[in-house]
Symmetry: C2
Subunit: 142 residues, 2 copies
DNA sequence: CTGGCCATTGATAATGATTCTCATTATTTA
DNA sequence: TAAATAATGAGAATCATTATCAATGGCCAG
């Protein structure tokens, strides 16, 4: 994402643009998917060593609240962040090497909606993760 | 679960039966689903104030490794435990009151298997959670 | 432009869940 | 029963995350 667009995106959401926020958002957006806070922090620090850990967390929170970032949790004790994308996707996680692949099955989504409705829930989010061994790890085990 | 059965279950798995483990396992099994470690600890303490927190965690780990207990994570920062049941189920979580309901949709399970196979994964576990507002919380909001 | 106010920041302390350490105690084994 | 081994309790340590608070910065009124 180009710098100008980040500026615009922040403005549209009414977020006061500061140097830190610009750097953090831009860095995250350039890092792809499933980025941990400490991982993001270490890259941000390379660009500006003065930025603190708290600011990274605060900014992630802010971007999340404003719908620019999604937070994920694969149950390994730390949250992951990624730019929110219009296209929804679920995850396939390799429990050996940690590789994460994405997938999307509209039929599953529809079935989920149906279950929620049956149970009287107003579903606002969901989470589907498949855990297993990827092809590469299976082959290397032999 | 009766005391005698717990004794037997531990023996079958080759777990050294100690007073602490008997109390912890029995308490957990009597508490139902989605029990947090500290919640379990506080009940265990009522039965035997001498038991330490570390032992609760160690025992949960042990029971999990031996397939007697399942660990869950709903992304709220703490792990939940429950007796492992032959029947699989997924979860519907109310993000307002925390209520957890269970459900099972075999079709979804099959579709998951299919996705994993397509991607070359050997799936060993999965996790599906729907988040939303339960009926009661929706009504109270008005 | 310029002082001042309020939002933001950085450093660090605090928190909460979980794990580790190690001396003590219980269990098993010979 | 005695020695060897495993388990325990108390509290320290860890790890990710959040809160605190004084210092700083951006931005509007004059």
């Amino acid at each position: 994402m180009k710098t100008a667009n980040i500026e615009k995106t922040l403005h549209e959401k009414g977020i006061t643009p500061t140097m830190q926020r610009r750097i953090i958002a831009q860095t995250l957006f350039s890092m792809g998917k499933h980025v941990g806070a400490s991982e993001l922090y270490s890259i941000v620090r390379q660009k500006n060593p003065g930025i603190g850990f708290a600011t990274v967390y605060r900014t992630l929170q802010l971007l999340k609240e404003n719908g620019l970032v999604e937070q994920r949790d694969f149950g390994d004790g730390k949250k992951r962040y990624e730019r929110r994308d219009e296209t929804h996707h679920d995850h396939l996680v390799c429990i050996n090497c940690g590789k994460v692949e994405e997938f999307d099955v509209p039929v599953i989504e529809r079935l989920q909606e149906e279950v929620a409705r049956e149970k009287g829930f107003n579903m606002v989010d969901h989470r589907l993760e498949l855990y297993g061994y990827c092809k590469k790890c299976r082959e290397e085990k032999e």
